[in-house]
Structures are given as C-alpha cells and as structure tokens.
C-alpha cells in the first residue's frame, strides 16, 4: 500500500525556498534514508511531511489523502515524528514520557501498558524504569524519545498503515543501541510501517534503507536504491568529498569509507 507520495514538492515557510521539486514514493514496509550536508533541507523535508509547513508547489499524499486534509488527531494516530533535538525540561519519569506517545490513541490503559512494555524492551529502556527524564544522559534521553515515537505507531490490532519520521535517531546512541534500533526498525517495516530516516551514518543507512534520497541546498540530487545513490560520484557532487565505496562482505550492500 502506498503510504507516502511526493510529487514535485516545494516549500518556502519563511519566504525563501527551502525545498524544491522533491519527488518521493514510499510504500508500507519500505525504509527511506535521507542524506545530505548540513542545511540541505533534511529536517525541513521531515517537517513538511509531518504537515508543519505548507507546500508552495506539488503535492504530498499520505495514505492516499492530501497531507493538508488530515486532521491533527487522525494524522497523529498513523504518523509519529522523532525530532532531532528534545527540549523537555520538566521532571517526568521515563514511563510518563513514553506514555505521551499514546496520547492520540484511546486504546485503554491495559493495551497501553502492553505496548509500553514492548517499546521499552525494543529500546532497552527497561533498566531506566522510574528514573526522571531530565537526569538521563543524552543517549538515554534519545532512547526514551525513540520509545515514545515507537509507542505512538506501534502495531496493534488495527491493520492501518503507519509512517515513522526519524531525524538523526542514532546520533547519540552507542553501537549496541544503534543495532538494537536497526533491528526494531526492520521489524516495524516487516509489519507494514513505512519509515523515513535522516542520518549522517551512511553505512547505517546503506544497511537498512530500501531507498535513499540525497539532498543538497533543498534540491534532490539523487534518489534510488543504496547502490545507485551511495557512489563515489554522488558523494563528490553532494558533499564535495572524496570517498571510497566498497562492498560490505556480508550483506553485499555499499560500504562507504571516508578518510
């Protein structure tokens, strides 16, 4: 089922153009990786997908319906967004933070507790139970926020397709938690969830993404499978760097070696 469809999308929330002519198509179960240098418009694209910015040209269809026509609550039941930076400054316990992810749903306390238990296991936050969010380390906070957005779109009895938007979810995570997250993302995708992920770790993107979008200055520089986008030539054009692209010995996917 088609979850997300962008046709020639442009946005200019503050007058000047942030994104120009973006075309993306994502089905349920697919993972899209977004790469690009700082200020390329990766976060703006996620915000546009989330309905924060209106489009100035083109169309965004989410589950077949124009994104502007979605009511906030219905959209939140099918789409979760993990922001790059979290400013939560009040002493919630981590359970309370994760439970906020269930705000748009009215599935009842029992179902919510089951989901909380599962997302805590999926993010290894069980051991943080009862702790106060503001006293956690950066990586721990990131895992709690991940658990919150997982809880929001966690598969339940309804067979509705869902979309998860992640802005640099791995930036603060150690290697084992990165792998745990990748494992969970793949599981979510297997259950029909579409995922859009911004990251600077190309090898991580290469390992999970079905499609990759490379952005530079708000424009779409490349879009396709990992082996089509992660090439020496595109890295030179998008990032103005010289990299070696090899092949992962186990997965056969591209392996980007810089320096």
């Amino acid at each position: 089922m088609n979850v997300l469809n962008l046709k020639h999308v442009s946005t200019a929330p503050w007058g000047s153009t942030l994104l120009e002519d973006i075309c993306v198509d994502l089905d349920g179960g697919e993972i899209l990786g977004i790469i690009g240098p700082n200020g390329a418009g990766k976060t703006s694209l996620l915000q546009t997908l989330a309905g924060d910015y209106a489009t100035t040209a083109g169309s965004i269809r989410f589950l077949g319906e124009d994104i502007a026509n979605w009511r906030g609550l219905n959209r939140a039941q099918s789409m979760a967004v993990l922001p790059q930076l979290s400013l939560l400054n009040f002493p919630y316990t981590i359970e309370e933070v994760i439970m906020l992810g269930r705000t748009p749903h009215s599935t009842g306390a029992r179902a919510d507790r089951v989901i909380m238990d599962e997302v805590m296991r999926a993010t290894d936050t069980k051991r943080l139970q009862g702790r106060v969010y503001t006293q956690l380390s950066g990586g721990e906070k990131q895992r709690v926020q991940l658990a919150r957005v997982f809880a929001q779109i966690w598969p339940d009895t309804s067979s509705q397709s869902r979309l998860l938007l992640l802005d640099e979810p791995t930036a603060a995570l150690d290697l084992s938690h990165q792998q745990l997250m990748i494992h969970t993302l793949k599981e979510l995708a297997n259950k029909g969830c579409a995922i859009v992920m911004v990251a600077h770790d190309f090898n991580l993107i290469a390992a999970v993404a079905d499609k990759i979008l490379a952005l530079k200055e708000g424009r779409q520089m490349a879009y396709g499978g990992a082996s089509e986008v992660l090439t020496k030539d595109i890295f030179a054009r998008v990032f103005a760097v010289d990299v070696t692209v090899s092949t992962h010995p186990d997965t056969g996917r591209p392996l980007v070696i810089s320096l």
Partner: protein, 346 residues
Amino acid sequence: MTLTRSNMQPGRLILILLIALPAIMLFALGSGAVPLSYSEVLTGFTQTLGGKTDSQAAIIVGQIRLPRVLLAAIVGAILASSGAAMQGLFRNPLADPSLIGVTAGASLGASIMIVISGSMVAGFTGLALVSVGAFIGGLLSVLLVYRLATSPNGTSVATMLLAGIAITALAGSLGNLLEFYADNEKLRRISLWRMGGLDGADYPRLLIGCVVGGSVLFALPRFSLALNALLLGESEARHLGIDVARVKFGLIVCVAIGVGTAVALAGTIAFVGLIVPHMVRMITGPDHRALLPAAALAGACLLVLADTTARLVLAPTELPVGVVTAIIGVPFFISLLRKRHHYGMQ
C-alpha cells in the same frame, strides 16, 4: 542519587489536601481578633445556615469570616492552577499567571479607578468600581499581549513572554505616573490595593468568585493531556495530535478571566501562582491530570492560611495578605532556585 520525586501517589496528595482544606478553613473561622472555639464556630455556622443572624458567633462567622475564608480559598485555587497551566504552556518553570500581563494591567485599571473616582466612592461602590477597573485592565492587557504575539504563522509563546514583560513594564510605569499625581489618601489606597487583601470579602464578591473561579477550575483540567504533551515542545504536541493553537487560546482565555477576576476581588497576591505549582509538582510530578487539581487545593489551603496569618499577627490591625504570601514565598523560592538541579530542571 538525588531524590527528585517523592514516592507519594498523586491521588493520596489530593486526598490529604481534601481533608486539610476544611480543617484549615475551620481553623481560620475560629481565629481572629475575637477567638472562637470550634464549637462556637460550628454553632455560628449552623445558625447562619438556618438564617439566624443575631448571636455574636453567627455575626462573626457568617457575616465576616465565612465569606472571607471562602473567597481566599477560591482566589488561591484560581491563582495556583492558573500558574500551573502557564508554566506548562510556556514550558518555563518560572512562569506565573502575571506573565501574560494580566496582573499589571489589572493594577493599572484599579489605580485609574481609584484616582478618577475621587473621594465620592470610598465605600462599597468604590470597591466595586475598582474591581471592575481591575478586571477590564487585566483583560485588555492580555488581549494586547496576545495580539502582539500573534502573526499569520500562529501565536509564539516566546514572543508572548516578551510582550508580557513589555506590557507589564508599561502598565507599571503608567501606574507610577498616576501615583505621582495622586494625593496622599489615594496613594495609600493604591498601594494598599497593590499589596492585596481579602478584607473586602462579602457575599456578592464571593458569588462572583465562585461562578468565575468555578468555571475556570472546571475548564483548566480539560487541557491536562494537551499540557502534558506541550511540555515536550509545540511541534511534538502537534505531532501527537494536539490542536496547539486552540489549546493556547483556550488556556490564555481561562487564565486571563480567572486571574483577572482574582486580582479584581483580592488585589495582587504574590507568589501563590508561582510557588504552589512547584511544591505540588515536586510531589506529583508534572502530569497535569494530577497537578491541576492538587495545585488548586494547595493554593486554596495556602491562601487561607496566609490570610489568617495576616489577620492574626497584628490583630486587630490586618497585614495585607500579599505581604504574607511574599514573606512565606520568597525564602521558599530562593531555596528552589538554589536546588533547581536537584529538582530535575536545567
């Protein structure tokens, strides 16, 4: 490891406060220039309910203390729950209900009324006029702050905070200008009004307080889930399906009307709106479903206690209650500032 949250269940705190509030009110009814025993208070109370108003206890309890104690409870509840809501909306633990300009605007409105009304309205009508002036002044300045912070892109709480500071400063200096031109008697009335006091309490005021305060206290908890999500950030709340613009507007209206009324009825009472939500949050955590009702109850308890203290300390003379809340509040607030990292806020 520092303990930042007590282990008390929120429901238990609310239960304790529900028991404490009537007890404190009973104590307040018995205290004053003429001390009454609990049995005398109860006698006076039942006589008042029965319409018998000739005994001394019935007059003291029914006519003087009961409206005052109840008004203190309502005003305290409005201020504390409004403060909790503002801290949530602004995601700023140092926010208080006066932040959106309502208190300063109300002060200015009251000062204008005191100065222009002159000596002709010293009694009841004068008090009523001053209250109306305060209420209108408070609402007008919130309206101005809200308009200043609203652009086609929505209402920015950061701009609202700054606009609130600007309007507060403007209203303050206009108020000073009025004081400059006021004669001694008016000057005294202005400054007494600013210190806050519940000595004007009577049944008509109590009725207004109950109607407005009751609706505000009923409306605010409806925003609990939205406020919980808003603590994450505005766009996060939107992504959780909250209609942020509607919630912002609704909260500002509730707080403006509630605090505008509270200030009109009792003058500016410092620190209740700032400190009570903090005290409660330390026990219940930031979940507004528990915080808002618990803060309302705790605010009622604190203001009744503070008003009783104000009546007792220099009896038969009364201190302005704003002085008492500030004297209790400031040391607590300073200790809060010093311990903020323990409390779990950066």
